[in-house]
Amino acid sequence: MKLLQMIGQGMLLWIVYWLGNQITATTGLPIPGTVFGMVLLFLLLLSGIIKLRYIQDAADFLLKHMLFFFIPIAVGLMDWGTVFYEHGLVLAAALLAGAVLPFFTVGGLAQLLRKGDK
């Protein structure tokens, strides 16, 4: 019973995902269907058309094990070793600066705006 319920909930999430992909396909926008699906699900939840309990068990399970899906994708790195060997320094610099600067920007801006709130 519990399993059937999970499958049903998963199918509902799948339908929203499918609709998101349809939006990407129809509009031709370079935005992944998952993004439209996510916005769509949020709006459906807000409007009450989909109740949280219709999907929450499957959603929580998928979110809990989300990291699992990235492992098979990352295995594809085995064909990309030379990129890191050849461009390691530039990539490291980009990743480092690309993390430190936004840390400072987001933290600083948000703290400033929160002071304005009080």
Binding site: G10, L13, W14, V16, Y17, L29, P32, G33, T34, V35, G37, M38, L41, F42, L45, I55, Q56, A58, A59, L62, L63, L67, F68, F69, F70, I71, P72, I73, A74, V75, G76, L77, M78, D79, W80, V83, H87, L89, V90, L91, A93, A94, L95, L96, A97, G98, A99, V100, L101, P102, F103, F104, T105, V106, G107, G108, A110, Q111, L113, G116
Partner: protein, 229 residues
């Protein structure tokens, strides 16, 4: 033969994932990265068995079947925290929005100056969104999904290890601001670290993570078209 390889690959991947997850929770150490550890073990196994990546692809396709619905499910935590979205809307939208742009512009500038190929640049730009978004963005823009995953994981690991100390060093002490920064830059891994600081920082990180994914997806194509040539 391929069918056997596929079944065994799936069993091994699930086993390695569960074991890495067990290690992570057993030792509670941010340096044990579930994705990094599992991926290295599986690549090592494939190399030892002299199997090319192509032999693993059918197994990969089966296992990632549910990634789409899982990504859509990111709306659920956002919906649960909708009162926070309203309460801190200005700080959230301005902070996370500016942060995502700064993040993408920085890597775009450095990788272009460093003379990297376009497919690599496009794969690194979405490194601050969660993996499913990064994979989708990279694919749509002509990048490589595996590279996108590597850059996201590297960013998340760096952010979760160094982020909180960096924020303290920048004199950012407000828990809302700290949570937003951790979620925007270091997505899921950063959110896990922010949660250790407290419920408020953790929830803000979760909200920032979901929004940073959406903002990145919206802004990345524009940025790539404008400057990525």
């Amino acid at each position: 033969m391929q069918a056997v390889i596929t079944v065994v690959s799936i069993l091994i991947t699930v086993g390695v994932y569960l074991f890495s997850r067990y290690l992570y929770f057993r030792y509670n150490n941010p340096l044990i990265n579930i994705v990094l550890l599992s991926t290295s073990v599986i690549i090592a196994i494939l190399i030892i068995c002299k199997l090319p990546y192509a032999a693993y692809v059918p197994a990969k396709d089966i296992m990632t079947f549910l990634l789409g619905p899982a990504t859509v499910a990111l709306s659920v935590p956002l919906y649960r925290h909708r009162h926070l979205l309203k309460q801190y809307s200005l700080a959230i939208v301005v902070g996370v929005g500016t942060g995502t742009i700064v993040s993408m512009a920085t890597v775009l500038f450095i990788t272009q100056a460093g003379g990297l190929a376009r497919d690599i640049i496009v794969s690194i730009i979405p490194k601050s969104s969660t993996i499913p978004f990064a994979v989708g963005i990279a694919q749509l823009a002509g990048g490589n999904p595996a590279l996108a995953v590597a850059f996201v994981v590297a960013t998340g690991t760096f952010g979760s290890v160094a982020g909180l100390s960096l924020l303290t060093w920048f004199k950012i002490h407000d828990p809302v601001a700290r949570g937003l920064a951790m979620g925007t830059v270091a997505h899921g891994q950063g959110t896990a670290m922010a949660l250790l600081e407290g419920e408020q920082a953790g929830s803000m990180a979760g909200v920032a993570m979901a929004l940073a994914g959406v903002f990145t997806a919206l802004a990345a194509p524009v940025l790539v078209t404008l400057f990525g040539g």
